[in-house]
């Protein structure tokens, strides 16, 4: 089949859906690749590189639509592009079907199959084609870079001959993929990073990236992960608590990066005007939710605004496109993985398997039907694990009480054991002859010594311990030695056999222990 990549039509979009690298992989699946001339130029791939990778460079978009069975691109199609789709053609792109119903209907009417990269379900098998995550990762990284660009000081704290520089304090709101990427980037630049998320179970991920999790003391903190790994809207009380926490932070932090999005809704307003006013002049707010209205009151999409008190609010919506080479590489790989799943036999034939959870989830029109929204996936989302309840640190008094109780119960047990043991000894002493009791004392003391000594044996020497106790238990030979001089033939015979096997035991046991111990060596 022919796979054709279009040049992006929307203004300022620098990404491209096919890279020379992904083209090579797609060709291995048995497909043929086409690309519109100049499609990769803005991302740093010129036509010649594509030709070298075996891609046919075509002059117009029209030609791609005519030749290719599968059309791939980055952004959702515009009217003109949708008009060119034909029956049975497949389009793979970001589509946002929930917001683009008219476009969805248009594609359906054309009879085209549309696979929306933004609808890839969030299950582990589909991670390799999760373009939203790869783009969010880039956005998070780029957000920190933009912040650094607009921020007049170092990120990392330094003590120089010219004076001490405090580290920048960064607050990241929303610890999705973008938020985590921002945390990682900011910490590696040396900033002090704090992060907040409505889903308390991500605190572990936040801490693993090196940031401090701002924990809200709120009783029924909701379980945001129920909705398939994305955040859900929060209750008014929770929101109040949350804003209160942000207000406290506002005066302290230098850089705020907001990434809070709720699927299918406008972005929640979390960084209000008064918080911007409370920030120090020269501080920076990067709003990654600008496209959906912004988390900050002052955000204007695609613009850099400076507030009255000198706080810079950046509302760019094209962070991934600003790193077109990197984002094209990742997006093209996501597309390539999607094609791999669509071509199970690797024979260049597309098998659109609607029983497959991933393909079914991402397909929004198919065979003149609108197949959006998809049924819930059979496999649950990744983030569905319940957060562990925080264990309360016992207070010093509780600890003391617990220790005391443990000591008491231990004493009780030991005393009982001793009493029972003593009683048994007394009873035994009643019936047993004196000579037996003398031996018995030796026996009990030896058991005690044994217990004391063996507990100290290193775990790694348990096998040598067994071998050596084995050898020592060959002491049974003494019994046979004592009997072997007997006047009775049968006793002598049995004693002789016993001597033989006990000696095997002793010599074998000791030698093998020695062999083993000699092997243990220090590095």
């Amino acid at each position: 089949m022919k796979i054709g990549a279009l040049k992006e039509s929307s203004r300022g979009e620098a990404r491209v859906a096919l890279t020379p690298e992904s083209a090579g992989q797609i060709q291995k699946l048995g497909h043929e690749c086409l690309i519109e001339t100049g499609a990769g130029a803005a991302a740093g791939f010129d036509d010649q590189v594509y030709r070298d990778a075996g891609v046919t460079v075509v002059d117009t978009a029209q030609a791609i639509f005519e030749a290719a069975e599968v059309v791939i691109k980055v952004r959702e199609p515009n009217d003109e592009e949708a008009e060119r789709l034909r029956e049975g053609q497949t389009l793979i792109a970001f589509f946002w079907p929930a917001q683009n119903e008219a476009m969805l209907e248009k594609c359906r009417a054309k009879g085209a199959t549309v696979i929306a990269m933004d609808m890839v379900p969030r299950i582990s098998r589909a991670q390799k084609m999760d373009a939203l995550s790869s783009m969010a990762n880039i956005a998070g990284y780029r957000a920190v870079i933009e912040a650094g660009n607009n921020f007049g000081r170092f990120f990392t704290g330094q003590v120089t001959a010219a004076g001490k520089v405090p580290p920048a304090k960064v607050l990241v709101i929303g610890a999705g993929v973008a938020g985590l990427a921002a945390i990682g980037t900011a910490t590696s630049l040396g900033a002090v990073v704090r992060a907040f998320d409505v889903r308390p179970e991500v605190s572990e991920q936040i801490e693993s990236m090196g940031a401090e999790f701002l924990f809200l003391d709120f009783d029924n903190a909701q379980d945001g992960s129920e909705s398939g790994g994305y955040a859900a809207p929060s209750s008014p009380e929770f929101r109040e608590k949350q804003l209160e926490c942000f207000r406290e932070q506002a005066a302290d932090v230098d850089i705020v990066i907001t990434t809070a999005l709720i699927p299918g809704r406008p972005a929640p307003k979390l960084w209000l005007e008064d918080m911007v006013a409370a920030m120090k002049p020269g501080s920076v707010v990067i709003d990654l939710a600008a496209e959906k209205g912004g988390n900050c009151d002052l955000t204007k999409p695609d613009e850099r605004v400076v507030s009255d008190n000198g706080v810079i609010v950046v509302g760019y919506t094209d962070f991934p496109s600003r790193m077109a080479t990197q984002s094209s590489l990742l997006y093209a790989t996501n597309i390539r993985h999607m094609l791999t799943d669509l071509t199970p036999e690797k024979d260049g034939v597309i098998d659109h398997n609607m029983d497959d959870d991933v393909i079914r989830g991402a397909t929004v029109t198919h065979q003149n039907d609108i197949t959006f929204p998809p049924p819930p996936p059979k496999v649950k989302a990744i983030g569905a694990s319940k957060p562990k309840p925080k264990e309360k640190e016992p207070t010093a008094e509780e600890k003391k009480a617990a220790e005391h109780a443990a000591f008491k119960s231990q004493t009780k047990r030991q005393v009982t054991l001793l009493a029972v043991g003593g009683a048994l000894m007394l009873l035994l002493g009643q019936v047993a002859p004196a000579s037996f009791m003398q031996h018995f004392i030796v026996f009990v003391l030896a058991c005690f010594i044994g217990f004391q000594v063996i507990w100290k044996v290193s775990h790694s020497l348990h096998t040598p311990l067994m071998a050596v106790t084995n050898a020592i238990s060959g002491i049974i030979i003494l019994g046979a030695v004592l009997q072997i001089g007997s006047g009775s033939a049968i006793v002598t015979l049995m004693a002789a056999i016993s001597v033989l096997i006990a000696t095997i035991n002793i010599v074998g046991g000791f030698l093998v222990t020695r062999r083993m111990l000699a092997m243990f060596q220090k590095s």
Partner: protein, 480 residues
């Protein structure tokens, strides 16, 4: 001929040496000296006893010792380190059998003395042990009978139990738990019969009672161990180790020999502690292990989501090349595949590349307590990078790569996460906390407990299928 005073002094010396010998095993360096304490102690004990008063039969004694020593030395030299569990089990059976023989002999001597006393009280000259018996009062002789019964019973159970354990470990007997119809009722029946016989014997029945008693005990030993599966062998072998000690102690009472008593008690308590440690490591109690089978689950096991993802040597190698810290978790599978040398080569290469490589050993990994440590030592892995579960379990979270070689149940997260799992509560190595886990495994089978391992389905787990040694050998050249 040495006097009794000499013999007693020697016994004290030997006891002290044995205690030092066991105590010295607290660390690897001291252990090399400790084994010499044991050897010297044993030599002192045997020499002074053999040349003590009232010992004869040197015509038998010396050749037997010579032959036995030759066989023992040969065995010790020839045995492979992977065969250690079998060897230990086989040696236990010898102690058990010797105990049975010695106890039988003791009773035969007692009968001779009694017969002589009955024959108008003319005391003939007795030699060896019979001479000692002749000095005993009637109540002491009655107690001697109790000791004989104990010696025979414990010795006989140890003997057949060890033989079966040997067979299972050597693969000569099927490792699966197997019992005759009737199960543990048969064992209980045999035990009750033994008790009846013992009472008969104490009331003056003939020597045949002791023979039948030994037969019944032989059966119990056989049937009990047949019913226990391969992976529980660490407990079984420690238990038999303990029994062989108690048998020796019982014989010591019979023969009024303190050295035997002390040594037997030392060995007995040592084995008991080892069994305890093993049981604790499996979160099961001793009775549960001995009676076989895992405890019943309290509900359906949690369903496992996800899929097992396989990986090839190239993938493992690139992950290892990128990693800074690596932990290797070996299990019985490594012993079966004889992969310890390959593991050692891999470790050497990784360490030469400046990576932090360590081993995590679960207490019940392998078929013998400390089995893995010995195998790794044989492959020249330095012991200071081989760590116990408690020492290393918190470090998994900060580790880049974990390689699990031939272990299953000891790395099963279900033990901690699923309260309905049959192994719930068993302490396990938390390998899943590492960034990446590679599991070298022959196929998709389950472990000894027969339950699925959710670890294999985790997102950071990759299955590295194939024979452990071959897999590692293909991996080696790819690591730089």
């Amino acid at each position: 001929m040495l006097s009794q005073g000499f013999v007693s002094a020697a016994a004290i010396a030997a006891s002290v040496l044995f205690i030092l010998s066991l105590g010295g095993l607290s660390n690897q360096e001291k252990a090399k000296r400790a084994v010499w304490y044991g050897i010297v102690g044993m030599a002192v004990a045997v020499l002074f006893t053999a040349f003590g008063p009232g010992i004869g039969g040197y015509g038998w004694l010396i050749p037997m010792i010579a032959i036995g020593a030759a066989i023992g030395a040969y065995l010790a030299r020839k045995v492979e380190m992977t065969e250690m569990p079998q060897l230990v089990a086989a040696l236990h059976s010898f102690v058990g059998l010797a105990a049975v023989f010695v106890a039988w002999s003791a009773d035969l001597e007692r009968r001779r003395v009694l017969a002589a006393r009955a024959a108008d009280g003319v005391m003939q000259e007795f030699s060896a042990f019979a001479a000692l018996v002749a000095t005993k009062a009637p109540d002491e002789l009655a107690f001697l009978q109790v000791e004989v019964v104990l010696g025979i019973f414990i010795g006989a159970v140890t003997f057949t139990g060890s033989v079966i354990a040997f067979g299972k470990l050597a693969g000569k007997v099927d490792g699966k738990p197997r019992q005759l119809p009737g199960g543990h009722l048969l064992n209980a029946g045999a035990a009750v019969l033994s008790l009846l016989l013992a009472i008969l014997y104490l009331n003056g029945a003939g020597f045949w009672t002791l023979l039948v008693l030994a037969g019944l005990a032989f059966f119990i030993g056989y049937h009990l161990i047949m019913g226990i599966g391969g992976a529980d062998m660490p407990v079984v072998v420690s238990m038999l180790n303990s029994y062989s000690g108690w048998a020796a102690a019982a014989i010591g009472f019979t023969l009024s020999n303190d050295l035997l008593i002390v040594t037997g008690a030392l060995v007995g308590s040592s084995g008991a502690i080892l069994s305890y440690i093993m049981c604790k490591a499996m979160n099961r109690n001793f009775v549960n292990v001995i009676l076989g089978g895992f405890g019943g689950s309290t509900g359906p096991a949690a369903e496992i989501e996800g899929e097992q993802v396989a990986i090839d040597a190239g993938g493992v190698a690139s992950a290892l090349n990128d990693a800074d810290s690596v932990i290797i978790v070996p299990g019985y599978g490594m012993a079966v595949a004889q992969a310890q040398t390959a593991v050692s080569d891999l470790v050497r290469k990784l360490r030469a590349a400046g990576k932090d490589v360590r081993f995590a050993i679960h207490p019940v990994a392998g078929r013998l307590p400390g089995h893995m440590n010995v195998l790794l030592a044989e492959a020249k892995v330095p012991y200071d990078i081989v760590l116990e579960m408690d020492e290393i379990n918190d470090d998994f979270a900060s580790t880049d790569v974990v390689i699990v070689i031939g272990s299953n149940d000891i790395v099963n997260p279900a033990a901690q996460e699923d309260p309905n799992s049959p192994i719930a509560g068993m302490p396990v190595l938390k390998v899943w906390e590492a960034k990446q886990v590679f599991i070298s495994k022959r196929g998709q089978g389950t472990g000894y407990s027969g339950i699925e391992n959710p670890l294999f389905y985790k997102e950071n787990s990759r299955m590295f299928y194939g024979d452990a040694r071959e897999s590692l050998n293909t991996l080696l050249p790819l690591v730089d």
